[in-house]
Subunit: 331 residues, 2 copies
C-alpha cells in the first residue's frame, strides 16, 4: 500500500522510509521499527485523544475519512463491518523481508466504543470478516501469519474510541506461535494427541477453571494466566486454522464470546482488554498438532519491570477464583 | 518472611495462602500467582494513590511504617539507602518450589520521586545496596536468581511515589535469562568469544547507537529495542556477575547512569521507565559466555494486543535516531 493523499484531523500524512523488522542481536526477539506510526523521540506519546463524534473516521457516513474499504460485510441496512487499511501500518506491502500488511476492522457502523454492547448478529459479521481476511491473505505467498487482535480501551492500547480490531499480516511466524507449535509437535510425538485437545479435556474434567461452555466452544480461565481473569476460548472439535470455522461454529462462538465480554464488562466495570487469535500459519494446511484459540486478556494490572526483565508474569487473582467469579456474574 | 503485624494506612494485613509458581501447560512461560498482593477479582486495580507526605512509609522518620530494615547504607547524616521486605511480596521464603524473597530498596531518605534528581553519591549508595543484597542472596542455596528492577512512575508500575527499586529473589532462572545465556553459550561455542563483548565492540566501531561512554561503561540504544529510546548499559571489561563490580566501577557507573537518567528526564519530560539488571545466576561463578548489563526501558508507548499475542514489539523510534537525540540532550 502506498501512502495515499487523504486527511483525518489528528493525522498528518508524511512520506517516510518503510518500517523494518529487526532481530535482537542476542536472543530470538523481533521488533518492527515502524516510523510510519509516530515521529521524533520527543513527539511519541500513547494517549487517546477525546473523540469528537463529527470527526470519528469509523462512523457510517464518514467513510471518506478512511482509505477505501478492503472488505465490507453488508445487509439490507448497509455495511455492518468494514475493513480498511491502517493509516499508520506496522508493516506494509513492500519488497523484501519486511513485507506485510495492517488492516483495521471497524466493528459496527454506529458510534459504539464497546464491542460487548453490540448485538449477536454484529459478532457474526465480525467473525466472518476475520475469516474472509485470513482467506484473502492466503493468496499472497509471501505472508506467513495473520495476527488478528483487538485493543479495547486506551490502557490496552486503543487510539480511537469507536469499536475496532486489527489484523497485522506478517512475513514470518511470531515467536509466540513458534513456541506453541513446537510444544504441540513435541506432545504429538510423545502421545499421538493434540496438546490443546488434551488440555481442554483435562479442564472439562476438573471443571474449576471453566467459565462458559457451549455446544462447540469452551471458555476457561488460563491455568497460568498472566493477567487477572485471562480467558481462553477453544473450539471443542480439533481444528488448527481459524479460517476453517463453519457457519454453525461462527453462530455458536458469536453467542459465547458476546456472553463472555458482557460478563467481563459487568464484573470488572468495563475494563480495558486485549484479545488475539492464535491460528495455524498461512503456509500450512490442517495441522494435527496445533489447535486455534482466542486469548482474552483484561488489562487491569500493568506490565512492569519485573515482568519484562524476567519474562515472569505476576497474577494477583488465582484463575480458579477468576472462573468462579465470572461464572456467577449476571449480565 | 511471615506476615507481620504492622499497618500502613492504605494496606490491610491479611493472612493468605503462599503464592505459587505456575508453568503454562503449553509453552515455557511462568506466572507467579500472588494472592499476597491484591484481593478478589473486582478489587484488583493498578492505580497509584496520591502520596501524603506525612504518611509516606519510605521517608526518613517514618521507619516504623515499614518492616525492619534488612540492610542500611549509612554515612554521618544517617541512612542513605535502606532495604526492607516488600509488604506484598511476589514470593516469600517458604518450603517448596515457590521459595523466594522480595525486597524494596528505598533510594533516598528525603521525599524525592525522581532518581534522576539525586546526587551522584546517592547512586553510589544505591549500586552498593544492590551489590550487598545479591552477595547476601548467595548465602541461600535455594535461591537461583536476583531480579533487580525499578518501576519509575505509575505508568511503569510504581505504586508508591518515593524513589525506590525492588529485588525479587527467584528459585528458578527467569526465561529471559535462559534465552540470553543459551545465546551466549552458542556464540562462545562457535567463536570462542562473549556475544556481549562482540556486540559492544561492534557498536563502538559503528558508533551510531552509542549514547554515552565512560572509562568503564557504555550506554547504547538497543539495535532492536522494544521501546522508544530503550538503552542498555554494559561494563566494558567482561564480567558475568553484577556483584563482582569494583568500587571504581561503581563510581564510574554512578556517574554515567545518573547522566543517562537526567538526559531521559530532560529529553522526554520525565517519562515513566523501568530498568532491570541481567546478571549471572546465584548458582554460578564467573561465566565466560555471559556478560551482566542493565536494560533501561522508557515507557512512553504501551504494550498492546499485537505485542503480547505475537511476541513482536513495535518501536516507532529508530534506535539510531534515539541515540542521536539523547547524545544531544543537555541536562
Amino acid at each position: 500500500m502506498d501512502e495515499v493523499a487523504f486527511h483525518v484531523p489528528r493525522f498528518r500524512v508524511r512520506r517516510l522510509p518503510a518500517p523494518k523488522l529487526r532481530k535482537d542481536p542476542i536472543v530470538e526477539r523481533w521488533t518492527i521499527i515502524s516510523t510510519d506510526r509516530l515521529g521524533r523521540p520527543q513527539e511519541v506519546h500513547a494517549e487517546m485523544p477525546p473523540t469528537r463524534l463529527e470527526t470519528c473516521p469509523f462512523c457510517t457516513g464518514h467513510e471518506h475519512l478512511t482509505p477505501h474499504a478492503i472488505a465490507e460485510l453488508r445487509d439490507e441496512r448497509g455495511w455492518r463491518v468494514r475493513v480498511v487499511p491502517n493509516m499508520y501500518p506496522a508493516l506494509r506491502p513492500i519488497d523484501g523481508a519486511a513485507h506485510g500488511g495492517h488492516e483495521v476492522v471497524i466493528e459496527c457502523p454506529q458510534h459504539e466504543p464497546s464491542l460487548a454492547n453490540l448485538p449477536t448478529d454484529q459478532f457474526v459479521f465480525l467473525l466472518r470478516a476475520y475469516q474472509q481476511r485470513v482467506v484473502a491473505a492466503r493468496q499472497d505467498p509471501r505472508l506467513v501469519y495473520p495476527m488478528i487482535f483487538k485493543n479495547a480501551g486506551a490502557d490496552a492500547g486503543a487510539s480511537l474510541e469507536h469499536a475496532h480490531s486489527q489484523i497485522v499480516l506478517l512475513p514470518r511466524l511470531p515467536t509466540v506461535l513458534c513456541d506453541e507449535i513446537a510444544a504441540g509437535v513435541a506432545h504429538q510425538a510423545a502421545t499421538g494427541r493434540c496438546i490443546f485437545c488434551d488440555l481442554m479435556e483435562n479442564e472439562r474434567k476438573v471443571g474449576e477453571r471453566i467459565i462458559l461452555e457451549s455446544g462447540r466452544f469452551v471458555a476457561l480461565a488460563a491455568y497460568a494466566g498472566r493477567f487477572p481473569l485471562e480467558t481462553w476460548i477453544l473450539p471443542k472439535a480439533h481444528a488448527s486454522h481459524f479460517e476453517s470455522i463453519s457457519n454453525e461454529e461462527i453462530d455458536d462462538l458469536a453467542n459465547l464470546f458476546r456472553q463472555l465480554l458482557r460478563k467481563l464488562a459487568a464484573g470488572l466495570d468495563d475494563p480495558p482488554y486485549n484479545y488475539f487469535i492464535h491460528t495455524g500459519p498461512l503456509t500450512e494446511s490442517a495441522m494435527p498438532h496445533f489447535h486455534w484459540h482466542l486469548e482474552l486478556l483484561p488489562r487491569i494490572t500493568g506490565i512492569a519491570g519485573f515482568e519484562i526483565g524476567a519474562g515472569f508474569a505476576i497474577n494477583p487473582v488465582p484463575p480458579e477464583q477468576a472462573a468462579a467469579y465470572l461464572r456467577e456474574v449476571q449480565c
